[in-house]
Symmetry: C2
Subunit: 344 residues, 2 copies
DNA sequence: CTGAGATCGGAGAGCGCTCTCACGCCACTC
DNA sequence: GAGTGGCGTGAGAGCGCTCTCCGATCTCAG
């Protein structure tokens, strides 16, 4: 098979069907305003030739690309430890597919890549962008906003508080955290500790805030800083145990952290949940179901969040031209649910 | 900000720099054959205007897209349980980025999507494809081969045995399995059992073959079929324990399976590794490090595999036109390594 | 100082498509 | 039976870029 088999063009289809290019174009793009018999003839010609429109030529004139960039900043952190992004990607993919858009994946790693991504987005290769940027001080969101590309963020960007105009989809980290802590209190626990996530991420900050919402007067020594990893969880748990040997419950910022904490508790002879109740966050199945005991945790519907992000973006692209504001929600917060297993 | 800010074109840059379009084009594409002072002037104009080439226009004439599709079939299965694809994507992304190619992600879910993907690939929107298709009976690989798009497969496609011409990158599943079993034997174990993966996937078949390479005469009752999930691992482990209560070692087809097996063993009062040694496969960190005891397992360098896939594809795209054959490896098998923790 | 050879820069023709216009043809009205 | 809409169709002009000529310029030997 020579790879020089030239793809059929509109012209070729038109010739075969005995009509003009314009008519073929009309049929290919929906067929409005073309009489039925002609539509049939064109369709047949398209099939016969195996014609597929050349997207490049089309974009050149329409200035639409039917493609959306998904930018994931600093994959090293969380992406690869949990199915978080995979699930979200799946949701995004489903929604984009349903609307005939392509998904261009941009993984960035460090500062150099930011410029590259900024340039790419500014270059108008895609119609819009879905951006995951976990860190508060990440310059990427700013860059992207500057590029003038319609964007929806996954997770609340760190600087979104004051200003409006930023569209994002986030889980109800704060509400979920409140629910977790209240659950522990409902179990009769009186000395609840918290292991935070990496506090340069809004999700960690929000979860800490949720903890404080419920326990505003908690001894500050009952809060230890973690980093969303099992190792961080272990370290923080040791600290907590040293500082407050009498604690009877731990709310960990995520399941990985909880797994680390669980190990330290066992090692130090504390029974879970009898002596110390433990609750996680995320409902990362591969972890939460495997720990001993299985982890009670807060679940977020990640796939739905992804789907929603895509839907929001596409609505903006198709619907209102660029007016923005009007009718575009600024932030959408998805509910979380408590999943009871055995650890609390 | 109105979204109608027209992007600068080559023409505009040329005008500002006081040269012709052709010269700007040359500078933008490497600058060969243009005198230094002019190059400088053009560069300055490009910067000043923030010019970015219009990829659509470029593709239209060059017939290159600088984009590669990554097709992941049936994500529900494994993708979301482990960081397997995430890591591979990262490797792919790194390599593509380095060569200025974009990554177009195609997630498929069920048969309908196959047609869509086939059409997309045949449509010549991308220069090549990297395809992950786990299942032996998946029609997708055939479809894609038929589309005439240069393709590299991730994992050995089920039907690649006889025919040549299929390029793929795979881990040494069979060799890794042999190493795992030999390790158990080296520990003095004499009744080694195996829990397979989902046998409609080549990786599972290869691992089983590796087991049999070392233990060709093993009692067939010491092999139980799993499905790469913890639940499958539990079920298979119970079966094995019922059939062969005297087994002293288990080689599980992956870490998730091993985790399930571990749970059943503990539940039935077998000590690991004293009574029964357990070894997994994949070195899925979130699992292998968290189990009790931590899992001894076989590691594969997934990220490197991804990078290699991309490199192979790009080499084919850039290098030899379409001759294929010549110098193109058909299958590349990456080595695995044994990671010793406590379970064996 | 001239001419040959080498090199650099510019004009222009498309790539395959969409979309605006203008025209032709029909049904229908008076 | 001629006039008048209105719908369907085709012609043609680009979208922004690359790349092939070909003419202009520069260099250097004779």
């Amino acid at each position: 098979m020579t790879d020089t088999a030239p793809r059929p063009t509109l012209e070729a289809v038109a010739a075969l069907a005995g009509v003009s290019r314009a008519t073929v174009s009309r049929v290919v793009n929906g067929g409005d305003g073309v009489r039925e018999p002609l539509v049939q003839r064109v369709r047949r010609a398209v099939d016969e030739l195996g014609y597929v429109p050349n997207q490049a030529a089309r974009s050149l004139v329409t200035k639409r690309h039917d493609a959306v960039a998904v930018v994931i900043a600093e994959p090293e952190t969380r992406v690869f430890a949990d199915p978080f992004f995979a699930l979200q990607l799946r949701g995004i993919s489903k929604e984009l597919t349903a609307q005939d858009s392509q998904l261009v994946l941009l993984l960035t790693e460090g500062r150099d890549d930011h410029a590259r991504v900024g340039r790419y987005l500014a270059g108008g290769h895609v119609d819009g962008a879905l951006v995951f940027s976990l860190h508060l001080d990440d310059p990427l969101p700013g860059l992207i906003q500057g590029a003038g590309v319609p964007t929806v963020f996954g997770g609340r960007p760190g600087w979104s508080d004051g200003r409006g105009g930023v569209t994002y989809v986030d889980s109800d980290n704060r509400g979920g955290a409140r629910e977790a802590v209240r659950h522990l209190i409902g179990l009769g626990r009186e000395r609840v500790a918290h292991i935070t996530g990496a506090l340069d991420q809004t999700s960690a900050v929000d979860r800490l805030d949720g903890f404080r919402d419920v326990l505003p007067d908690a001894d500050p020594r009952r809060v230890a800083e973690g980093d969303f990893t099992p190792a961080g969880g272990e370290r923080a748990m040791r600290e907590l145990l040293a500082r407050c040997p009498d604690l009877d419950a731990v709310f960990a910022a995520n399941d990985l952290t909880a797994a680390g904490a669980l190990r330290v508790l066992r090692e130090q002879g504390r029974r879970v949940p009898d002596d110390v109740a433990v609750i996680g966050f995320d409902d990362m199945l591969a972890v939460a179901e495997q720990t001993d005991p299985p982890l009670t945790t807060i679940r977020q519907d990640i796939e739905e969040a992804g789907r929603l992000m895509a839907r929001l973006l596409l609505r903006r692209l198709n619907g209102c031209g660029g007016g923005g504001g009007e009718g575009m929600p600024t932030g959408v917060v998805l509910p979380t649910t408590l999943v009871r297993r055995s650890s609390a």
